[in-house]
Amino acid sequence: MTKMNRISALFSKAKEPILNVYTTAGYPHFEDTMTVLTALQEGGVDIIEIGMPYSDPVADGETIQQSNQASLDQGMSVAHLFTQLKDLRQTITVPVLLMGYINPVLQYGVEAFCAKCAAIGIDGLILPDLPMAEYEREYKAIFEAHGLFNIFLITPQTTDERIRHIDSVSKGFIYMVSSASTTGAKTGISSDQETYFERIASMNLQNPRLIGFGISDHSSFMKASKNASGAIIGSAFVKLIGQATDLRAEIVDFVQSIKGKK
């Protein structure tokens, strides 16, 4: 690796809470992918997570499921997404992650997939159904050869021992799932969740953490950011763009309001 991964660079210099927004590729319309990314950046997002749609997204709730299906119905595929992102780095400077399920990656070919990601300027991957043991055995070397960070999830049920192990193999940040749930199942942050956030914060992990699931507005974003470097918004954003009439303006507005800049 020649230069510092954009994710590491961001975390090392960030002074304010980091906002990571998830968006489904090819949603609401097939050709909207780059429009959405550009508007997110314009609004001041810190990291963008692009969802590669999948027919059977078991970790996702209804909102993201439906956006996945809508995108697939319009013909989206990994290959099409790569085509849409081919000039990504001409406009987008923030770190970009691809999020998705392992099967489409396997069919594309893990090596070819990673090479393509590196060529486009993708910084990392979130593949929730790729287990840690499997990653270490078969994928780690390939990901690292292409400078891609693999982002692991932890949940309130993850044991301290496993968290320490995840911390030792993680790069960039750890994705802290705020509660035992699928995406979009709950909104807001309860006091139980805050206790969990504090417990993890006190573990002094080597990697920074972003908190996701249930973050939907400025207040939940700030609450989560008290005990982490920032937070991730998915379903609330996907819901917004699914209903938007002026996509660009509404996205800019949304990002600014989450960050309290409005």
């Binding site: 078991v58 970790a59 299906q69 990994v78 069919q107």
Partner: protein, 395 residues
């Protein structure tokens, strides 16, 4: 070559546990404890007693004389249709509910296709006083209405899975999501030899009673404890896994699997996974999977709700790839003909799933002195509406 699961949870190239972190604690707890739980003599005694007195085991091994005469070979039917609730599925649910109790769980979630696994789950939940929620594809709720009523009568909550093809695959997605959202008090009783390790192995062990009994019964009837062929239908593959289990390492027994070819293997309306699938990951394991070039899961089709699934268990993918198992694709029409034949020659109305296994006689060409055991996985009551409709029984 081994046909059993290895330390990493693989059968050859297939298996593993491809699950999101949210499910890791539950699956890991199960993985680290299931073998000890099952091996415990107290567990064994409880399991055996329930199979005997509640399920009605052992099920008979019935010599089908008229079918034997027609196909000029010796055909035996392993009567899983006589299990309480009408199919083999209950062997697994009895085992898993006892496991769930030992894991300290008091709620059960399950998926179902034909409704047989849902009924078998609702039944053991009633027996043990556990809360039960069953996900079922909206289309299956319609085509297997009697089983929906049975589940509700047994006190289970039946929830329609409305995503995707609205069949077994989608019901399984919903059941997994439910488990993600209820990780502490709930055990997921998967209904076939699919899902993340250790499910395929655990379910196969609970179904292995089928082949254990076949061995003993054949010894009594034929003076040898193995058949030349064992035939079973494969949806996910649990009844086949159970019927094959004790013959996996018996080279004299050919293992024959019947998959649902729907309107024809190449018709675009099929569920014949070994013909149409390639290696992929669905529902937590790597196996053969019907999918697009992009890795999106293809919505399968079969007249039989229990076989209407785009994958097969990793054990079967390994049996296929290694050549140990032989797979046939049986069309809707062939299954219907076989269902009528079994009904009218033997007085047994089989489930539509089972009818796919019975349709293999036509293709097998077994010799007169050979012994063919077919696993009669379930009875046809639940399919009467389809039979009435397709066979014009009311005209």
């Amino acid at each position: 070559m081994s046909f059993q699961v290895d330390e990493q949870g693989y059968y050859g190239n297939f298996g593993g546990a491809f699950i999101p972190e949210m499910l890791y604690p539950n699956v890991e707890e199960l993985r680290s404890r299931y073998l000890d739980i099952i091996a415990d003599p107290v567990f064994q005694a409880e399991y055996d007693a329930l199979l005997k007195d509640f399920v009605g085991r052992p099920t008979p091994l019935f010599k089908a004389e008229r079918l034997s005469a027609k196909y000029n070979t010796k055909i035996y039917l392993k009567r899983e249709d006589l299990c309480h609730t009408g199919a083999h599925k209950v062997n697994n649910t009895v085992g898993q509910i006892l496991v769930a109790k030992r894991l300290g769980k008091n709620k059960i979630v399950a998926e179902t296709g034909a409704g047989q696994h849902g009924v078998a789950t609702a039944t053991v939940c009633a027996l043990m006083g556990m809360e039960c929620i069953v996900y079922m594809g909206a289309i299956d709720i319609e085509r297997q209405a009697p089983n929906v009523a049975r589940m509700r009568m047994l006190g289970a909550q039946v929830v329609a899975a409305k995503s995707g093809s609205q069949t077994l695959k989608d019901a399984t997605n919903e059941a997994m999501r439910h488990w993600i959202n209820h990780p502490v008090d709930t055990h997921y009783i998967i209904g076939s030899v699919v899902g993340p390790h250790p499910y395929p192995d655990m379910v196969a062990r609970f179904q292995s009673i089928i082949s254990a009994e076949i061995r003993t019964q054949l010894q009594e009837k034929e003076g040898r404890d193995y058949p030349d062929y064992v035939i079973a239908c494969v949806g996910g593959g649990s009844n086949a896994a159970g019927a094959f289990y004790h013959f996996l390492d018996e080279p004299r027994t050919a293992l024959i699997a019947a998959e649902a070819a729907g309107k024809g293997v190449n018709s675009g309306h099929s569920a014949a996974t070994t013909f149409l699938g390639k290696s992929g990951v669905l529902h937590g394991s790597k196996s053969l999977l019907m999918q697009t070039e992009d890795g999106q899961v293809i919505e399968p089709y079969s007249i039989s709700a229990g076989l209407d699934y785009p994958g097969i268990g990793p054990m079967h993918a390994h049996l296929f790839e290694s050549g140990r198992g032989k797979f046939y694709g049986i069309t809707d029409e062939e299954a219907l003909v076989a269902a009528v034949e079994c009904s009218q020659l033997e007085g047994i109305i089989p489930a539509l799933e089972t009818a796919h296994a019975l349709a293999v006689f036509e293709k097998l060409q077994a010799k007169p002195n050979e012994i063919v055991v077919v696993n009669l996985s379930g009875r046809g009551d639940k399919d009467l509406a389809t039979y009435q409709n397709r066979l014009k029984l009311n005209d």
